[in-house]
Symmetry: C2
Subunit: 262 residues, 2 copies
């Protein structure tokens, strides 16, 4: 399976410009799975709820169509972040598409800081998508800091995790090696880079998109700053045997009755 | 609060020699909390259940008395690993003592590889001990790979985690930075070093004992090989405010209803 990330520097509110940037970066790229950053087409630094509503889309609109065309051109399943409108709510979401269908949506469960002001928290739980013969889990950015996110996806049978991000803290890339070891799973973290100053906020996004294997080895790491696309071959089947020693299975060795959940 | 680890190379089955090694390393050391490795007085590489039973002790026996004298000499609460006999079972356990009492015991919940052949798995759950004014969680070695271990201790109110280890895999020290970030907690990992060859097994233990703060910063790191004692000043109160951003509290932001436990 050929999997990859697209790291770039979106311009706030300029959907068409961002589409063109991505399209250019993926010219002549072929893959089975491509992950784009969180909120890749709109930018990150919203300053009001009105703004996030104005830039949000429903499934099937402009961003969906762009991503499906991208799926057609690259042969890949695409996972990408967008502000998603559903009834009267807007979610920080990811859409999963191939060239002929919307495979699904994931609405971010753990919102970071002021995202709580602009978005509704995901209310459909974690989801694992069937992209035969593999099971794809999706989480978005800050979900990483809660070990329950990737653990839930692993328990649901995910072989790999697509992880669109807009990271402003320096911890995630190293932590993803632990997430992958503890669940014996692959992860593709697609981060943006560059700075964005709007309203009272100025963010620096740290790049360093990363593909991590079930032993916590970093198979690919993007630069801190700069466009970067990397596609590598992985075998997601390597995630399925959870035995780290002859007598230790990472999932069946769990002793649930001793775990507190609240 | 002055906390530290004792890293050394125990000799298998030679309790008195190991006591002397520890005593020598702690000569003139004063602290509030000292953590010794897993199975510090017996060594690790058991070859039969009979052997683990023969080297096991009940609370109050030789190892307890040694540790209480050590507590007297150093002024510290001591956490140390030992094979613990209770009724007809033997656990890979930790004992927590001060100069005048046994504060408690923790029986390792997640056994590593052949430990499953020599020990019974802990059946009393995770525990947090009151060492006023602080709350001390204890986990042993392989417990680290299950994020549920340190999460449970954090949810039980632990300010810091004492973590006796005999590490043979290279992942734990880096992972402890993630454990400390995700729970905003301190941890003291006390590892042994050296090699031990018995029966069919030969292990190399990796040293690098470590004190980690709630931001995942490594405050102290021992050598891969060699005796090492380090005592540093920490303020466990820094673990109590779980807000990593103005709007994000690492524990109350958890969305339990979406977490799978099995």
């Amino acid at each position: 399976m050929r999997v990859g990330y697209v790291q770039f520097n979106p311009v706030f509110g300029a959907r068409q410009i961002n589409f063109k940037k991505v399209q250019k970066l993926l010219k002549n790229v072929q893959a089975d799975l491509l992950v784009l950053p969180e909120l890749f087409a709109t930018g990150y630094t919203f300053t009001s709820k009105q703004e996030s509503h104005d830039l949000a889309e429903e499934t099937g609109e402009e961003t969906t169509i762009f991503l499906q065309n991208l799926a057609k051109d690259t042969g890949a399943v695409i996972v990408a972040g967008l502000p998603l409108k559903k009834q009267d709510k807007v979610y920080n979401a990811a859409i999963i598409v191939n060239d002929h269908e919307v495979i699904g949506m994931y609405e971010k469960i753990h919102l970071f800081n002021k995202e709580k002001l602009w978005f509704s928290p995901g209310d459909e739980g974690f989801k694992v998508f069937d992209i035969r013969p593999w099971k794809l889990g999706v989480m978005i950015c800050w979900d990483w800091i809660f070990p329950e996110s990737s653990r839930t996806l692993a328990l649901m049978g995910a072989d790999l995790i697509a992880h669109p991000t807009n990271l402003v803290l320096p911890y995630c890339q190293k932590a993803m090696t632990t997430r992958c070891i503890e669940n014996h799973i692959f992860a593709i973290t697609a981060n943006r880079y560059g700075s964005e100053a709007r309203g009272d906020d100025k963010f620096e996004f740290g790049g360093q998109s990363q593909i991590t294997n079930p032993w916590g080895e970093v198979l690919s790491s993007g630069p801190k700053t700069g466009d970067s696309v990397d596609v590598i071959e992985i075998d997601p089947a390597l995630s399925r045997d959870k035995k780290l020693t002859p007598l230790n299975d990472l999932l069946t060795d769990r002793r649930e009755k001793y775990y507190r959940i609240s």
